[in-house]
Amino acid sequence: MLKALLARARQGHRTMAYPAGDPPPLPELFRGAPALDPSRCPEGCRACADVCPTDAIPREGPLALDLGRCLFCVECLTACPEGAISFTGDHRLAARQREDLVVSAGPVRLASALDGKLRRLFGRSLKLRVVSAGDCNACGSDVNVLSTIGWDVGRFGIQVVASPRHADGVLVTGPVTENMRLALQKTYAAVPPPKIVIAVGACAISGGPYAGHPEQHGGAATVLPVDLFIPGCPPHPLTILDGLLRLLGRLEEERRVPTRP
């Protein structure tokens, strides 16, 4: 017992100050919101689109990137001869509309808060049932992290619950495999209305690397009405938290974006 108390004293208070204080530092190599400069694209060049594993970069029109498909890998960065694509250290990526995830020269159009009744209901208490529907356990793990002491989403009234009957919404990870479709639909049906759906990760938004496979359905929106899309492969916990807080209207003033060394 004494040892446990001593350990508690030494390990210290670890819950981050964010959002009241600064967000936790992100690694130097972290790949967040993309910065695209279509003016650098040589005539007719689509070297980036050629190497993109998920076809997140369209072959026609000005340079654009679909964050719903993007795996935030390094293929396009390496392939571009002109440095027209870079990833910034900005963790904020979540959007309310699927089309808002397609970015070109401008910034990401970030998620707006729920309005009216939903915000009154969920703004200070949101219980979520998490359903893994073909995820590789990376998105699931970093959703789980939000309940650990460092992140402690309980501070915001956000809690992961076991029974869909106790939930206000469903958080989906994975491309929705055919073998999980029915279980996902039944889980959603068991949540009392009004309810929301949150899609976390490239798979849950677009099928990710599995898009086009007959074994899956190409994301949560193909079977459920999605209210919030959080891109990444997997999204950083800070990106997920940012999306949740935006949705609940708890992050209206712009927080300072962490700077990289």
């Binding site: 040892k3 446990a4 350990a7 508690r8 030494r10 390990q11 670890r14 992100l26 690694p27 130097e28 190599l29 972290f30 790949r31 993109c52 594993p53 998920t54 795996l71 935030f72 890998c73 390094v74 049932r129 359903v131 893994s132 529907a133 073909g134 995820d135 590789c136 356990n137 990376a138 699931g140 793990s141 970093d142 959703v143 789980n144 992290v145 650990t148 002491i149 460092g150 992961v160 076991a162 869909p164 491309p175 495999t177 055919e178 073998n179 999980m180 029915l182 279980a183 889980t187 798979c203 990710g208 690397p209 599995y210 496979h213 007959p214 074994e215 899956q216 492969c233 997997p234 950083h236």
Partner: protein, 485 residues
């Protein structure tokens, strides 16, 4: 004979008559070898098997032409049961006399198959009841279905039905490599990104003859051990949580993140995405970065030691861990268990020691074992491995050899076969690549350690208490997607 990470011409793989092939498998296992992989490939359908002789460091490969209906060896060689079911499901052949001819992944290609809909073993009796759990579980966890046959709290039998995570990876790997092959490897089991991508990269290097610098091999080793650290530390915390010991649960939940963040320092991703590639690694480790990693790793080691040692100092934890979820060494060998689950039964196998490749050819790690096969032993092995892995990483960071991070990779050798083994944090990852005449994948077979070890979890519950299931489950912490592919 094959060697880990050494390609051989397909024509050098002995093709045995089916009877002789079966005798070879049965005899090999009787002598103490393990089935590392057993699958169907090519046209006409050919069975390939890889036997691992752990003590001798040898890999034995043989093949046989398949028939529409063949005799099963599963009753005699229990560790073959899942492989035979998988071959039957993937290729529409029959293994006569298989005691358990059930679906594995319920693929769409099998008409009328619905995930989880199958006959389960039943124990009959007026006081026997059945408990069905999943695919959606209480926690944030991947989906699977567990069917318990119980008498009161006592579990007579647990049957595990998976397949819910089936994404069609192996089917899509055929004909590759393509630009999606790397993302497939990185998400086969997303908590084992480094392990699987390393096994794949070593297969490509063997088939293309690419050389990897000593520096890249050391960085890969650092990443593989960091992956082990994050998962072992996280699981020890989760085990503490499952016996309601909150101090270690809280501390280790945070420490797992500290280890993941070290991986993110290497490549920007907490799960090691975009780090390992055929030919080496994408990002180098500068001297400054090595110093930062070292100081953060030392801090995490101190905090982890303190958090984990609380477990053994707390009688209520020790009481719950000991004698819970016991697997005997005989059962472990028969089921073909690998990784910490096998080592906790006193079986001293570890790919890093028995079939060393890359950095492990130069830096030898002792094999950590425990001897009771229970939750306590599995926790002990994890803790011993945490200490070994930290030491290994510190040593690498202190003396990173020179070399280019990444070498060019040429075309793949046609009509060849390569087996690569990697010791992931769950145990032996086995990849087998077979190329066609154009140097494309005619077949790419993945065996996640979970394929071997799910049977171990089922055995651990026998004669246990159903309320111990979460604890036993976490002590194995197996991959659903790695199994379902």
């Amino acid at each position: 004979m094959a060697r880990n990470g050494r390609a051989l011409a397909l024509r050098d793989v002995p093709v045995l008559p089916l009877d002789e092939f079966r005798r070879w498998l049965v005899g090999g296992v009787a002598e103490g070898q393990r089935i590392a992989a057993y699958f169907g490939a090519l046209e006409p359908l050919t069975l390939f098997a890889v036997l691992a002789d752990d003590g001798g460091g040898r890999l034995l490969v043989a093949a046989a032409r398949a028939e529409a209906s063949m005799a099963s060896i599963a009753a005699e060689v229990p560790q073959a049961q899942l492989f035979e079911r998988e071959i039957a499901e993937q290729h529409g052949v029959v293994f006569e006399g298989h005691p358990w001819p059930k679906p594995v992944r319920f693929p769409a290609a099998v008409p009328g198959s619905v995930a989880g809909v199958q006959d389960f073993f039943r124990v009959e009796g007026s006081e026997v009841h059945e408990v069905a759990v999943g695919p959606v579980h209480a926690g944030v966890i991947e989906p699977g279905h567990f069917r318990f046959q119980c008498h009161g709290e006592d579990v007579f039998h647990l049957e595990i039905a998976l397949g819910y995570q089936h994404r069609g990876v192996e089917r899509a790997l055929a004909g590759g490599p393509t630009k999606r092959t790397i993302p497939y490897m990185e998400t086969l089991a997303g908590d084992t990104t480094i392990g699987h991508t390393l096994a794949y990269s070593q297969a490509i290097e063997a088939l293309s003859g690419a050389g990897v610098s000593a520096r890249a091999q050391a960085i890969r080793g650092i990443a593989l051990e960091l992956e082990r650290l994050a998962n072992h530390a996280g699981d020890l915390g989760a085990l503490a949580g499952d016996v309601a010991y909150l101090p270690t649960a809280s501390f280790c939940g945070r420490l797992r993140g500290d280890f993941l963040n070290l991986t993110a320092e290497l490549c920007g991703s907490r799960f090691g995405r975009s780090l390992v590639r055929p030919g080496g690694v994408v990002f180098d480790v500068t001297a400054d970065k090595a110093a930062v990693l070292k100081s953060r790793l030392l801090a995490a080691r101190r905090d982890t030691a303190e958090a984990v040692e609380l477990l053994w100092d707390t009688p209520s934890v020790v009481e719950r861990f000991e004698n819970t979820g016991r697997v005997s060494p005989e059962d472990a060998r028969a089921a073909g268990l690998v990784g910490p689950a096998a080592r906790a039964c006193g079986i001293p196998i570890d790919v890093r020691h028995d079939f060393p490749l890359g950095i492990y050819r130069f830096v030898h790690l002792p094999v950590m074992t425990a001897h009771h096969g229970d939750v306590s032993s599995r926790a002990t092995v994890r803790w011993l491995e945490i200490q070994q892995s930290v030491q290994f990483i510190l040593k690498q960071l202190d003396g990173l050899p020179e070399g280019r991070p990444r070498a060019e990779v040429g075309a793949l050798r046609p009509d060849a076969l390569v087996v690569t083994l990697t010791e992931g944090w769950r145990g032996e990852i086995c990849h087998v690549a077979i190329t066609d005449t154009a140097g494309r994948f005619a077949r790419y077979k993945v065996v996640d350690p979970s394929c071997h070890n799910w049977t171990g979890l089922a055995l651990a519950l026998r004669d246990g208490q159903i309320s111990d299931f979460p604890l036993c489950n976490k002590s194995f912490n197996l991959s659903y997607c790695g199994h379902d592919l």
